[in-house]
């Protein structure tokens, strides 16, 4: 049994230690908002926060997650930054198919927590690990800026 803290709630799971966090979230805990896209940390669809840092959950063995604070797309809206980003995503009409957007929002939330007033170059860098095949990048950038502005972090 591995003890986890997910979105502020303590959970325990009984899976082999090498099982990635992604599949634990999706198959064992039913937190299907975190998406599978590549399984190799190449696309960012599975991004979650572990102790505040963005992590690609598809390569993170569950054995390394014990007692860490994990936040997923289902929980990110409980803080102001996550909430502002989710609202901006809706307002700007970012999503097309929407599949990658949970990972995009998680990467963006990690960025804004670290860098409340990101430059374009900082946005590029923070978001470079997240692929959107529908090509919503210009709107993702606009939504990040809008959320940053709402948080008082315009530039």
């Amino acid at each position: 049994m591995i003890q986890l803290e997910i979105n502020g709630k303590r959970q325990s799971v009984d899976v082999p230690g090498e099982t990635p966090l992604l599949w634990t979230l999706r198959d064992e805990l039913g937190l299907i908002g975190t998406k599978f896209g590549c399984g190799m940390a190449l696309c960012g669809a599975c991004t979650v926060h572990v102790d505040g840092q963005p992590v690609r959950s598809c390569l993170a063995p569950i054995s390394t997650m014990a007692n860490k604070k994990i936040v997923t797309i289902e929980g990110v809206g409980t803080d102001a930054v996550g909430k502002a980003l989710q609202a901006a995503w809706v307002d700007v009409g970012v999503p097309q198919c929407g599949y990658c957007q949970a990972g995009q929002i998680m990467s963006a939330a990690a960025l804004l927590k670290r860098t409340p007033k990101p430059t374009d170059a900082q946005i590029d860098e923070a978001m470079s690990g997240n692929i959107c095949r529908c090509g919503t990048y210009t709107r993702i950038r606009a939504a990040i800026k809008q959320a940053a502005a709402k948080q008082g972090g315009t530039r």
């Binding site: 099982t19 198959d27 998406k35 097309q96 929407g98 470079s128 090509g135």
Partner: protein
Amino acid sequence: MNAPLILANVSRRRILQGISLGGLVLAVGYPPTARAQEAKKYGADGMPNGWVDNPLAFVSIAEDGTVTIVCHRSEMGQGVRTGMPMIVADELEADWRRVRVAQAPGDEKRFGNQDTDGSRSSRHFFEPMRRCGAAARTMLEAAAAERWKVPVSEVEAKNHEVVHRPTGRRLGYGSLAKAAAGQRVPARETLRLKDPKQFRYIGKGQLKLVDGRDIANGKAQYGIDTRLPGMLYAVVARPPVYGGKVASFDPAEALKVPGVERVVQIEDSPPPAHFNPVGGVAVVARNTWAAMQGRRALKITWDDGSNAGYDSAAFKATLEESARKPGKVVRNDGDFTAAAASAARRHEAEYYIPHLAHATMEPPAATVRMANGKCEVWGCFQSPQAARDLVAKRLGMSADDVTVHVTLLGGGFGRKSKPDYAIEAAVLSKATDGKPVKVTWTREDDLHHGYYHTVSVEHLEAGVDGQGKPVAWLHRSVAPTIISIFNPAAQNEAPFELGMGVINVPFAIPNVRIENPEAPAHTRIGWFRSVSNIPHAFAVQSFVAELAAAARRDQKDFLLEVIGPSRQVSPETLADTWNHGESPERYPVDTGRLRRVVETVAREAGWGRTVPKGHGLGIAAHYSFVSYIAAVVEVAVDDKGVVTIPRVDMAVDCGATVNPDRVRSQMEGACVMGVGLAMLGEISFKNGRVEQNNFDSYQVTRMAQAPRQIRVHIIPGDYAKPLGGVGEPGVPPIPPALCNAIFAATGKRIRRLPIRDQLAV
């Protein structure tokens, strides 16, 4: 093989109809007498199961006033779950805040055609959905008039209530729901449609996406997200070479992996591929990870079959060889040979575009459960009726006993119109006594077992007059055809492929010859967003720019001159019998509209402006899916040859719009996809196997490589005129506009995609 494919008007839909009837209609075609008797049908009328405009199928109203509108087309990012219900709601005078959207199961008899591709949803269902809304509104009005015992002419539905004009009395839709449902559905010809000036939602673009909040909160449900009690999870090891099969396998090690329950062989499907699974060995487990681990432990010996020698580099040489020799003539105006011989100068160029993979962010995934002689399917399907019919066929059941639930699609781009993954799940559910089984494809599975965009060589020759203007035009297009997945002997492009921007080019050139030499297929070829328009537009629009450069002319002015004066060109005079399935009278090729998008985009982009050193502007225009799009790309190429794209302008004339914000977003997305395939996209084969495994080797555009700004300029349309497509036509002009911009910036002409490091210094 020279037997002509009888495919005039037999597009994918007709093929699917063929499937559901248990036979293939193509290649043999209909007997001539039957064909002659069959009146030619166009648009939605020409699609299997056509359209339905019955409000009882699409609209229900609860007593609390909640209006539920059914969306019968699949949502894959184009915004159809917002757009279709919005049309109904507008005519219904429903308050959008009280509208809920329900997704239709696969049932074309009830809802009309559901095959969500070909950029057709708005174009084919704008009118039926308006009638649906208008009919429901009329029924509410009739119910209110009855209740008040007043003439129906005195009442009017307005914003979720019916008003009695003389007295100002009002009744909400909820209180009329029951009585309205009992009203006769009014006859189609008696319906009063709104004056477009009164539209509340259509064309306004102020409504948020119906799924936007769920997507942002992580609650949206895709095919891969299905969870059912007692569900098992499967992944499949498939033959690495198309047409290959399992020679032998040993499940022992796989069965030792904790969580693995069963190892099941899926029957091989020899070519033609159709929409069948390719066969292989499935590992069924208690969770996805265990299934993946189990698959890794399988020992399989493959028999690679006849495509084991497929090699992309060698195949490119084969295509080039074919492109340099005469082939089947598919359009012939004037006398190319004579005109070229007497031309002042001649130009020649060859363009190459490799295979591409859709690489939808959500890989294919489907879940099937069987119980009591019924089968239920959940998944991300562009064509749920095809999934239903093919699952039924594979299981030997009646389609009536198969229910297909359509989830959101995490990207489609044509891949998810082929429900091979649903059939896999069905086979596995059956093998496990009907237990629910979810099949998940990994990214490697997706890239290795796709229905790839074709690979092509486009050979162009022109003879030009003293001013450099083309008087003779030869285009040889050589590419494996999509028809090969239904008929392996097919080696010529079908009318629906030729009609995607190679024969139906409406240029003012008197001598035109289009040829289509043969090309065999060695893998599964499929529809990829905008399909054959991609290679055709790349070649045609690059070649026009090359001719402009040779004539030392401004590219935009030269393009307009080649398009010629504004005129309506019948597709038939361009040898295009297909015309995207639309009537040639309703949808002629309008060079005035093509000119107008070129002029608009040039103006909006500031064509001719001075750009910084290393920057360049390129333009291209293309007509496809009965819409007209032009793009100006601004590139910046640094001293190492690295390309960035500060800005793209796109002008789109798709007729009137349902949801202009989604027209914009589709153009933005098409632009990014066009940039990605031009810069990076390539699926290559070696020893019959795809060489790319994941997003490290099959690269797609990331944020920093995407255009920094994409400005979309929508030409206002008229709701009285037929609508055009939106989802696909934005892609084709982007690669040539980009390459034309690179030429302007660097003097280097790109004729082979992807560009990748061709500019590296």
